[in-house]
Symmetry: C2
Subunit: 337 residues, 2 copies
Amino acid sequence: MSGPGDGAHLTLEQIGQRAGVSRSTVSRVLNGQRDVRPEVRARVEAVIAETGYHPNPAARALVSRRSGLIGLVMLTEVDELFGDPYYSALVNGIQQGCSEHDLISAIFPAAPGPGSQSEALTPQIGQRFVDGVIITAVPQSGPMIEALIARGKRMVVIGHPADDARVTRIDVENRPGSAQAVEHLAGHGKRRIAYVGPPAEYPFGVDRHAGYLDALTATGLSDDGLVQFDDPSVEGGYRAAASLLDHEPEAIFAATDTMAEGAYRAIAERGLRIPDDIAVVGFDGLPRGAVLDPVLTTVVQPVVEVGRRAVGLLASDQPDSLVLPVTLRLGGSCGPH
Amino acid sequence: MSGPGDGAHLTLEQIGQRAGVSRSTVSRVLNGQRDVRPEVRARVEAVIAETGYHPNPAARALVSRRSGLIGLVMLTEVDELFGDPYYSALVNGIQQGCSEHDLISAIFPAAPGPGSQSEALTPQIGQRFVDGVIITAVPQSGPMIEALIARGKRMVVIGHPADDARVTRIDVENRPGSAQAVEHLAGHGKRRIAYVGPPAEYPFGVDRHAGYLDALTATGLSDDGLVQFDDPSVEGGYRAAASLLDHEPEAIFAATDTMAEGAYRAIAERGLRIPDDIAVVGFDGLPRGAVLDPVLTTVVQPVVEVGRRAVGLLASDQPDSLVLPVTLRLGGSCGPH
DNA sequence: TTGAAAGCGCTAACAT
DNA sequence: ATGTTAGCGCTTTCAA
């Protein structure tokens, strides 16, 4: 008897022999083509099942020029990658997208910099190991994106600067979202609205800052020097907000929820209260914002949907770019609605 | 002129033509074999560089029967995977191991259960897409492990039950580590030592509970019914500890730092103080334990090293199993040292 | 509806 | 030291 376990090194040819057909027929059965007599198909399927046969993906990929595998390249320190709920949501969405398109995804964790996996990765994913890659734009992702473009690799960049027409990109409405947040603040009568965000290497930071300025202009306010850039971390938000508090802002718009959390700390440290003494609005809609006290009012970006649609973009024939809408979610950090 | 970008569809043969040599010679250069005249080698390398050529991994994998890719299969909900610092450390170690062995790793996130990626994954990784897989033993990993065994796939299981001789496994000294922790507690004069841990489906939980019992026996104590099993989460630890506190233990040994954190909460809620009213020891040595107040005394397992050695095990010719030592790290949760 | 044959791009004998 | 040749296991014309 042949049980499973034999499947490891069987070939199409051998399956064909056992089923009394040619390898072509087995291939047809495997690929669900219809010109196979039901009776033959059943016989072949039986053999496949009882042998535990699985086709060799390398051989398949070689001839068909596709692997069914897409790569997620995260040029991020592993600790950061794993600590950040943004990536968690993103991967969730990508998984959804993959099952819709019959793909499987693999995360290639690649800390930036020399000696790391990112160097070894470029050639691997640059060729046909993966059918395409989804890559998140971070300050260090430029070279990798360039390499992939040069190699004609299919790719979707999340959060890539809009002015680069060479890549398919997906993003959220950073600029209008920020504007909406700041207008919300202005609508609450706040005049001195400060901005806390990441430095200009972060593409989303640029857009969110621009949205902030848009809203100030639209409402006849000015930034009044109330702008601080720092790392998009809790600490960065803390530092930026702390230095801003010297100038007595009435509100702080933080370009990320994470930085907003830092702002909360800085505010608490001064003995100020949110929202009575100062209002805060964040951006991202991460779960963490909901457990802050008061609950953070924030611009929610549809991260899961971004992941899902990124896969769609990768799989579609006419890869366009996509910008998804955001929504302001009211918490208690700006006072009563 | 041919710039990079052309590399996408070049073959070895074409590189050979441009360099005026046969494809074999190019292959030799590519694979760093020495029987190539330096001058020829230089010429070939020049062509490779200027064309941006990269060999087709599928073709390579097909003939050489190896891909240089190893898979990390984490049968875990994505949120859990990304939220847990254990995995972060593990992946860090695996990355180290990969660069030592000239491999690249990809994480296959696979939530357990039907409809998810885990089903699609089995055949893919079951064949030669990856040279081997590292899989963390969780309650749901049984079927996947069986499938991989059946397929003769190279595999290292982290934390697999020791009595299964069919798989290469790597683990830490869960049982002796727990015993050491509990003996430490006993050494501080604690008699009523409670245990809080995950249910028996978690292999490490079984071992850690056994170590607890070992130590009780060795020190002439008994568990006195002071044992509670619950989810290995903060909440689980909280619940388990809360119910245990009714029986007035003098110390709690938590099988994971995460559960210990829950125990801290339950203890605080009763108005008890650590270590004066009750001592706590954890297991894992996660970063989070160090920011608890007081700092958690815990059994540190070398997670990064586990990852690194797992790759070594996968890459080595004689795959043995490995059990790494743990160390007790003193914090303030048991009183002065 | 099925089989035979060619070939995907590479590595590894085997010649030379 | 280098070239020639034969596959790796699959998909896909092309015939039958």
